[in-house]
Amino acid sequence: MTRLTGGLIDRNAPLNFTFNGKAYKGFQGDTLASALLGNGVQLMGRSFKYHRPRGVVAAGSEEPNAMVELRTGARQEPNTRATVAELFDGLTARSQNHIGPLHRDFLAVNDLLSPFFAAGFYYKTFMWPKAFWEKLYEPMIRKAAGLGSLSMLPDPDDYDKGFLHCDLLIVGAGAAGLAAALTAGRAGADVILADEDFALGGRLMSESDALDGANAMDWVASAKAELESLPNVRIMTRTTVFGVYDHGIFGAVERVSDHLAVPGDKVRQTLWRITAKRTVLAAGATERHIPFADNDRPGVMLAGAMRAYANRWAVSPVKRDGDAIAIFTNGDDGHRTAMDLIARGAKVLGVIDAREAAPRFGDYEVFAGSTVTGTKGRLGLTSIEVTRNGRSEWHSVGALGVAGGWNPNVHLASHHRGRPVWNDDLLAFVPSPDGPKGLIPAGAAAGKGGTAEALTDGMKAAITALSEIGVAASEIALPKAENMPSEQAAFWHVPGTKRAWVDFQNDVTVKDIALAHKENMKPVEHLKRWTTLGMATDQGKTSNISALAVMAELTGKSIPETGTTIFRPPYTGVSLAVLGGGDTGPLFRPRRLTPTHHWAEAQGAAFVEVGQWMRAQYFPRTGETTWRQTVDREVLAVRSGVGLCDVTTLGKVDVQGADAGEFLNRMYSNMMGALKVGMVRYGLMLREDGHAYDDGTCAQMAEDHYVVTTTTANAGLVYRQMEFAHQCLWPELDVQLISTTDAWAQIAVVGPKSRELLTRIVDGFDLSNEAFPFMACSELTICNGLRARLFRISFSGELAYEIAVPARYGHALMQRLMEQGADLGATPYGTEALAVLRIEKGHAAGAELNGQTTAQMLGLGKMVSAKKDSIGAVMSRREGMAAEKRRLVGFKPLEAQTQVMAGSHLFTQGEAQTMTSDQGWVTSSCYSPHLESYIALGFLKNGAERMGEVLIAANPLEGKELKVEVVSAHFVDPEGGRLRD
């Protein structure tokens, strides 16, 4: 154990956990990283490319090295950072990206081969021979690449999404964030205070600075208590604001139960969409390191992280108590770590300060004007080489803290292409003033990292933000704080011939940057892609600026001239599960059930998804072994007796108003205005470009009232188009539209005995052919008083009706029809039989109305009235459209029992099968039990004049072809006598 005294851990709450199968103990308040360090574990993982042994580098979400897999079974989660994984009792964690045990990774051979893995090696190595890419290189790279592994089991947890609105969103609950929250909270503004950590305080938890002469955490506790008491303030811990979107919308992930062994009845994570009028970005700063030779050994870490481990988690980063710790710094900040370590009783070798005029703040050795030029220790640091003026000496140490200065966390401020601005005093990029509108950076994120200045800046940012939205906020009494010395030198890396790592996770070294420079990959965008710098899971948080500085040195330009780096969302990784927000499996999209769904289910129907609808596909009966048997039976039953089909899913639009007829005249290509009350007309809609769009029926219920139907697939789109025409084109017309698709259950009653069946349920309504002929419609009552609508329309070519009742009576109506029709052989049928019936009759459906066909092609050219304007009419008369000679025809295979595949293309016998000789294609096909043959529909060049011709239907996909005879598309009752009887 290398625990120190104090810290923000609860020593009365010990927790058990395992790492790579070995049991350890930690405390409530630990992260996995702090607990491992507390147990003397430095080695936590392997690097991505060279498989170098690695330890923890940071103490927060910027961690590049300590990537672990958490949990087991379906909850196994790869690539989590040990530095932000909250410890819980029973946590199991494993290191990743190695073959064999962590301390003897077989893939470490890559490190020996590193000369072959230089910058751009993917582009250079795997180019030849070409065929090897797919067969060898890519599979090999894929196997070697990636860090953790997936469980390959479905995620058992729930995820959610939610929406929040506020006056002021404060990102980060450190000194600046808390001051902003108190200021805005007391002013009565609606405030959301979000922090990725599980506790409030930010960097205050990791420092030893006093506030008002007392422990800073006392002030944090009182601030927290006050904020919690304010109803207008919402505190969201474990919540990462990961992205800025348009109009002040922020994406955030709340890790609701990641810190629990199992979520229980809670969701695992919630995706929040926060709409904020103003935002204070108080996201703090991230420390950078100083590349030097062999700087990647476990035990080498950021000095600020070392300070955090000592102050917050009371752990020393060494493997054994008593091992010395050294600090390598280019500024005053490194000295703070030495001071805090000494104060907590750790053994400090001294501070190696690159500056000649290095200060001394306490009782420790200072190696002024010195640098670290080498390290030893295969699996953990054992000694460092300190060089001054070319003279080197080795020192035995167990850990080295590196302090290279702090980079403000400008990420969110750059999400709207706000380019960070270089600040020469701070030696860092600060947020751009052209960042997202309404976002004000404050505190360390704005380059004001001293505690006193951060507190003041947070308060001022809140006042400014609120004044912009008309909320008056006053200055608050802030605790007395100091700004610690923060002088630093522009010292970016230690020159040398050995490898010095810049990006730890992706193994990018100073040499790689030099090579990229030599190969003219100088712009930072090229540098990134050539070397993979900044492409690791930390997205360059610890490496980008150092790399930029190295490139600047090589090009002889200043850092801002060399370039800058902007960040894209997300700030840290966001799981796909939470982005899905629980929309998985049956919840993936809404499922619409027809009014007879449960009835059909009880009949044992098979269902098919049609858009969002679940429709009965067919109704198998005992003894039927294939779906074809069932469908054949259903089709024959319809044509010989009576069949019942729920057609509720067809879109219904209620059109009312004095100008309803005129409006429909403009929507449909054929004349609708001249319809008579009580009659229905088939209608064809075109798109404005002249192509066929949708078809349906138009029933005139009253002078000023029509009921229009659409296809199932286009129900929403046609309604939208009608509203467009009404509101955007002709708002002067007196017409009102409403979709009534879900309001009415509609059942098709089809077949020669349909009239007889309906007679048994209508309330004395005269169904005779004279009183209610083909294409008649009427309102009526059925079953002793239930209001209904009856339409005599036919999709199958049989005598047929569609009867509509309020949706809640659909189930009962189906039951009544089945009871009343039992002796007539009433047979329910599904979408399969519906399709067979319409193909037999030659009715166009989705396969024919696919957006690429015209009224002429469908044989409906005469429906486009020349007497009036309607949507698409003008364009449908364009020369090319009018000259279209392909026509919808039917096909019969010469061998009746051979299926014609829809999608087959048609060719003249004996001709080459090429694009130019193509004669058309097959759109729909089915087995017709009526004709005892397969049949098909399709479009054929000059189709109307080619009856009787035998063509080849080719299906090159399956290497099949067969001979088909061109026939009329109307296989059944072409004269239409049946539906008119």
Partner: protein
């Protein structure tokens, strides 16, 4: 994005479907001599400005109003929204 619906206040853009250029409201006269050419322009030609753009949005998950929304395509800033029917009727007056 948020769209300031003239009747319903700020609404999330997720409630809307997008159509495009508000010039689609100016359907040509089918009886004009060069109607076909006008319709070709109407159907196929669009300005694609980097900057202020007037465009049609349909409040499909809401009150089913068509709106003319003025948006800066470079910043997504929404500068205003009007009921399309009012715009059309105003233009006709």
């Amino acid at each position: 994005m948020l769209i300031p619906h003239p009747l319903l206040g700020l609404r999330d853009s997720q409630e809307f479907t997008y159509l495009g250029d508000a010039n689609l409201m100016h359907r040509p006269d089918a009886t004009a001599e060069n109607a076909e050419a006008q319709f070709c322009d109407y159907v196929f030609q669009r300005e694609n400005p980097a900057g202020v753009h007037r465009e049609l949005w349909f409040h499909e998950q809401g009150d089913r109003s068509w709106l003319v929304v003025t948006r800066d395509t470079t910043t997504h800033e929404i500068l205003g929204a009007e009921l399309a029917s009012n715009v059309k009727l105003g233009a006709a007056e």
